[in-house]
Structure formats: C-alpha cells, structure tokens
Subunit: 456 residues, 2 copies
C-alpha cells in the first residue's frame, strides 16, 4: 500500500502547533468577547447558489464544489456530456460548495434570521475556509479566518473599536512592531475626482494599490497607458506622497478636495474617528493614515483597514472595512450597514514563528508523569495519580511496565515538567521522589507536599 | 432573488447555541488535557484514496466527494461518459473527500509521522465530520466528533481511564443518570463458541445487538433462520439474561466459557480492569457490564464501550473500544494497538436541552452596556467604557444615539446583566446610574464602585 499523503495545500496540526494556534485563537476570542461580540458558526458546506457570483469570476473558479450524492449524471443533458463542457456541467452535478470566506455565510445568516437578531448585531466567527488556490508560502487551501463584524449601525465608533481590538489583540500576542493602515473610500473618490478618472476609478485604485510594490514611475506609466493625463496625476501623487501626522495629511487633503463631495465625506469621517479615539482616551499609536491604501474588495464603502507586521516577508495579516449593505448580495430590501475586520490567523502564526514571539507557556502538556519500577509501585502509583487529578493537576502514569529510562524519556519528549518516581522504598515510606525535569533536581516528599509544590 | 437556504442536514449555531456548545467542548477538552491527552487537528479534506474502503461499502457511498478543479472532464474515458456511469466516473473527477470520522485521519497522521511521535501517543481531536446520510432527528450531515485515543500501548489502564474520563465529563456537564456499558470482544467470541457460530460470528453479534430493540424472541427467530440450532442458543441467552454485579456475571461466564480461549481472555481482561479501577481508588458507578453489547465496527478487538443517557430518546452518546492495530488500513508493518473513545457532541447537546441541564451561566455575553441620553453623555460614556475594559470587564456602549428604551431593550435581548445609564446629571457629578437588569434595581455610584460591584 502506498504511504498516505495530505491533499496539496492542507496541513495537520500536531500538539506543539495546536498549542500555539490555541494561544492565538483564545487571545483573539477573549478580546472579541470583551468588546461585546457574540459567537456564530455556520456549516462548512453552503448551497452553490449562495456562494457563486459573490467573489468575482476568479473566486467562482476557486470554490471547492461538492459532487452530488447518488447517480449524479442521470439528468445531465447528453449534449453537455458529449461536449465535455466541464464548466457548465459543474452546476448539474454539484449543488454545494465549501465556504470561501466568513462574510457571505454571515450575510446569509442575517438574511435568514433577520427577525430574531438583536441589532446592532456584533458577531465573531472563527472557522476554516477553503480556496482552490495554487498553494505557495503563506497561502493554503484550508486556512482559518477570524472575523468580527457589527451590522445595523452607521456609528463610526465601530471603526474605532476595530482599531482598539487590533491593538489589544496584538498586545496579547506580543506583537509590537506593526502598522494599522487606514484609509477611506471617500478619500479614494477624492483622488479619482482630482485625476478626472470618470469610469476608470477601479483602474486608478488598482494601480495606486501597487505603489509600494512597483514604485511611482511604474504606476504612473500604467495610468498614462490607461488614458490618464500626466498633468492630472501630478496633484494625485503629491497627496500620495504626503508625509506627517494623520491630522497634517487630512489638512492637506482638505485644501485639495474642496470640490469633491466624496473626498469631503472621507475627511470628515476620518476626523470624527480621531475625535472618538480621543474621547475614549486612547492614543493613535500604530495607526497610519495611508492615502494609497485601496484594498481590492469593491463592497467597502467607508473606512478601510489593513495591518502589516514589520520585519517579516508576509503580506497583510488583517483587513476590513465599512460596507453600506452586507446583505445586498441576497436581498436589497433592508439595508444593513456595518463594519468588519478579519484576522488572518495562519499568517499571524507564521509571523510569530519567524519573530519568535510565542511564549514558552503555550505548550499544552501534562504537568506530572508518574514513573514506576515494578507492578507493585505501578499499582501504588494509581492512587497517587487520583490524588493529583483530584487536586486539578493534569497528570498521567506511564501505562506500561518499562525501563525507567524510557519512562523519563517520555516525560522529556512530551515536555512534562515534573516526574514522580515510585519504587519499593517510596511505596513503603510514602515519601515520593519528585524530579524537576528542567533542572534534574530531586526531592523526597509526601504527596500532599508535591501537590502544593506543583500547583505553585 | 430567492431567499437563501441552508444545505439539508446542516445547521447554523447562533450566539445562544454557541455558548452551550462551547460549554460542552470546553468541559470535555479540559478533562482530556487533565488526563494527558494532547490536541491534534487534521484537514477537512483528505485524499479519497485515504478514505475509501475504510468504512464499508455503505460508508463509501456516504462520503462527500470534492469535484476536481479546472477542466475535470478532460481525461474521463468517452465510453464512461456515454454510459453515464456515475459511480465509476466519481474517481475520475474527484480526488478528495470530506473527513467521515476522526479515526482514519488520525491513523493517517500516525503513519505519516511515526518517527516524530512520542509513543504511547495520547491525542484528542475535536472537529466536524461530514456524512451524506439521510437527515433525521439527531442525525446531521455535518456534526462534531470529540475523540480521545491512546496508541502504542496494551495497558488496560487506558481502558480504565476512558471510564474515568467519561464520568468526569458527565459530572462536569451535570449529566447524572446514564450507563457506561462495557463488554469485550473476547466475551462475544465466547458466546460465538458456545453457539457454534463458526464463520457466522458477525450474524450472531448483529442479531444480539438488537436484543433491547426487538426482544429475545425475534432475535432467536432471526438466528434460527440463519442456521443456528435452538439448543445451542439456550446457554447463550442464559448468559445474555444474566443479572447481578459485574463480578457475578463474570463468575457465571467463567464457568460457561471454560473451553473458549477468546472467552477466557475477555473475562481475564475485564477482571483486570476492575482491579485497576479499585487500585486507582474509584468506584464502579455507572459501569454496566452488558454481555449483549456488540457495536458494529469490526476493528475493535478488546474492550468495547457505549454510553446511554437515561430518560431521553437519543441513541448512544459515546462509543469506543480497543483495537489491535490502528494503522493496519494503511500499513501493516508496525502494529499500533490502542484504545479510543468518541463523544457525540450533537447528541449530548440534544440530550442536555431535553433534560434542561444547561446552566444559566453558559450564556456568553457582555457584562455591562453603557446607555446614554445625548451626544455629550455618549462621548463621556466612551471614557467609562475604557475604564471598564481596562478592568477586564466585557462591556460595550450603544453605538447610536437612540431612545433610552431602545438601548435598554438591546441590553435585555442580549442578556446583558448591567446597564450604566449616563445623562447630563451623571456627566456633571460623575455619579453614574447602575441598573441591574434582572431586578430593575438602580443605584448612583462612581465608576470605581461600579467596577468593584460588577466584578464581584
């Protein structure tokens, strides 16, 4: 039989990785809860009709589709089969697909439960998503998203809370060197007005977004090739290159955007966010107003966010923004404005590994191993084990009668910090040998003292 | 646009359900960890070659298969397409499938990581699995399994620890009225020897397993129809109907199984388990030796377990047993004997709902809502919010300027226990109105006292 393998782009998480991942999940979850967000989980599978058309044509290609059960070919038109038209047959033989992100399932949930939900609805969701992308460093076919969204309110304090949550999360994770880049669709609209972009807005934003990758000259060339006049681009790049504090940049924009309603709205909202941050009593630390930040997703309508960790070659680790109408993709009737953030757990993990930020204590492990010399001490050890567990101490007994060396190796490899060694003397006296695995220190103690010591 | 729906047999878990589910998960996880089990997670998708042939022919039919990406029909032989042979085409157009249980992925992980794993390997795994079963009450197409296994040891203390973990888990969940049914494949082998079953062993076990559903007469009829002689069945049913303690039943079997090597092995191992339970200092509470317990899965070779909660019409909520060789399905070379247990979270959830066992405290919620009268008190409230959060209190401010009634309704519906109401007076004096939502009690207090009160 061939040795089994994993599907491309997927991973197992063994105990050591799980401990680190659980540390990240628990840190972020507790911050979401502290800010009043409540948990939601949706199924891995959604109807394809729920998923398709929501992520652009490329996204539709990247959806994992689930083959219908039973005789799935029965009703496929013969001409399609003969033509081997894979793309059009897909929807005849697959009704369901795997979740591609957490936003569309969330929107579906809101539409289906609109009348039971208390708005403003603050929900968080931590689940894997699947994309049939070409796997590469930092890009997997199964990865976790970790989202928090508020829907049903226009309050800009929700944007401020996103900044606060990111900072608390990163503080909890020990990440100190990073930027929370913010921008506003209105500011981008102002740039478009300035450049006379007309219906070429998207081209302008896509080009601008590449500024820090390919540089100003290349971006200009691209835009001129698309019909932008070099003259109209001059004031745009003056703004893109603006330095200084957020307030400085906003003042500069204010002068330039006097004719742009979109630009004025963006400036006003960003100023209001700074005011709210101040009223809360918080600093602007890590916040970087980046006029060039565009983000691909066209459904953002207000503020947009992106977080980069410095000194690691990993793309953005969080992204989000304000949208006018979450549920528009399903149902245009009732507007549900909201704002959300998504933490890219797998990238945060990779960055923390690279920067060696995981605390040693993330290793989940047994606290005490009971090792034994013979059948009698093994049996005696069972009572010791019960006493430890009754005291709430994670503990185990080596299950087989093996050489002591092998038992101690087991403790070492499992990173168990304490071993209790029991032989005939210990059984007779009740004075057990406690061995501290890190230092090799040994001490004879009764079980009550060991419990006291290990708990401390 | 049509209102979106959920795929058949799948569910969303909103905040209230999530809180209860997290209570179950956290309770069981902490017990697994206390017993020295370490976490593992495997991908939702496995290669179909990993999954097929492991669950019998019916299981293969119930696997969800994932359609290959791109032009999946390109290399399908034309004759298969013309013949519309769905079953044989499946493997041409689908290379991957969704996890059907946690045992096969665990076995695959052990085979792939044999040289890095520290044996005996105690792992737990809590993840969803998917089966294309016909949905019905208590049976879903996506549901969680919650497994703990030890591989790489024959020690019967591992079986004992399964009993201990089940009891601790149920105690933590508040489930008091249940039975842990145990039996041993050897005991079943003894019955087969007694009945002269020969190669009809499986028929015998399948029939016996139905004893409490269809009754003794029907089981006998079925067996006689399959060629068992009524005479040979008489002593079998004497044993199946045996009453008394585990020790009583074992004594009875001992006399009857004198000629059965399998039977003797089963008796010896069950006796040893009782001895180990005693050495640990634990009772036999909830343990019920059930000679008729067979369980379907043929890979069990030693002790088998099943847990039933009394007074609910829900099948078994846990099952497990000892297997000789976990990795035999992949690689016969190195034997890996082990024993495992699987908690059926969804059924436990349903049973706890029916028995009203969820404690009120499972509701995850914000502790304090800040409500406000106007823009000035809203702004003042932001500083109050920061103070609460800095004290570690989950809290939120109503984000919009709305009528107080609406803000209080929000707190009510979200089960937030405290509201701080801030108006012009409160802003002026710093004496904030704390409202206890359950009782309606109101008190004017400075923020430091409120923090003290809410924390208590």
């Amino acid at each position: 039989m061939d040795k089994p393998t994993l599907p491309k782009g997927t991973r197992d998480f063994g105990p050591a990785q799980m401990a680190k991942r659980q540390f990240i999940f628990a840190s972020i979850r507790s911050i979401f809860q502290k800010f009043g967000f409540l948990p939601l989980e949706t199924p891995a599978m959604e109807n394809l009709s729920t998923l398709t058309g929501k992520y652009g044509e490329e996204g539709d290609q990247l959806l994992f589709k689930i083959l219908n059960s039973g005789d799935f070919l029965k009703d496929v038109p013969a001409d399609k089969l003969v033509a081997r038209d894979s793309r059009s047959i897909t929807f005849d033989i697959a009704e369901k697909g795997l979740r591609y992100d957490l936003t569309v399932p969330f929107a579906r949930y809101v539409v289906m439960n609109r009348h039971e939900i208390t708005f403003p609805f603050k929900r968080y969701q931590i689940q894997p998503v699947w994309r049939a992308d070409r796997p590469q460093k930092g890009r997997y076919r199964e990865f976790y998203q970790c989202d928090a969204d508020v829907v049903g309110t226009d309050s800009l304090f929700c944007e401020v809370e996103i900044i606060l949550m990111i900072r608390e999360a990163f503080a909890a994770l020990g990440i100190t060197d990073y930027s929370i880049k913010i921008n506003h669709r209105g500011v981008l609209g102002g740039l478009a007005d300035l450049a006379g972009a007309g219906d070429q807005q998207t081209s302008l934003f896509v080009a601008i977004d590449k500024l820090d990758k390919i540089g100003e000259e290349k971006v200009k060339e691209e835009l001129v090739a698309r019909g932008f006049s070099p003259n109209s681009l001059t004031p745009v790049f003056q703004l893109l290159n603006a330095q200084g504090t957020t307030a400085d940049k906003l003042a500069l924009l204010d002068g330039t955007f006097s004719q742009s309603a979109a630009g004025q709205k963006g400036i006003a909202e960003l100023r209001q966010m700074l005011d709210l941050l101040r009223a809360y009593g918080a600093s602007e630390d890590h916040v970087e107003f980046d006029v060039a930040l565009a983000r691909g997703l066209s459904y953002y309508t207000g503020c947009i966010f992106e977080v980069k960790i410095h000194n690691v070659a990993i793309g953005s680790v969080c992204g989000g923004g304000r949208y006018d109408n979450l549920t528009a993709v399903f149902d245009g009737k009732e507007k549900s404005s909201g704002v959300g953030i998504s933490f890219g757990i797998d990238r945060i993990y990779d960055a923390m590994e690279e920067l060696q930020l995981f605390p040693a204590r993330t290793q989940i492990s047994t606290k005490v191993l009971i090792a034994h010399f013979d059948a009698a001490s093994h049996s005696y050890g069972l009572g010791v084990l019960r006493a430890l567990r009754e005291a709430g101490i994670a503990s185990e007994i080596y299950p087989d009668e093996s050489k002591l060396k092998k038992q101690l190796e087991y403790a070492d490899r499992k990173l168990i910090p304490y071993t209790i060694v029991i032989g005939p003397d210990e059984v007779r006296t009740g004075q057990l040998t406690l061995k501290v695995m890190g230092t090799g220190e040994q001490q004879a103690l009764p079980i009550t003292d060991i419990i006291h010591r290990v708990r401390a």
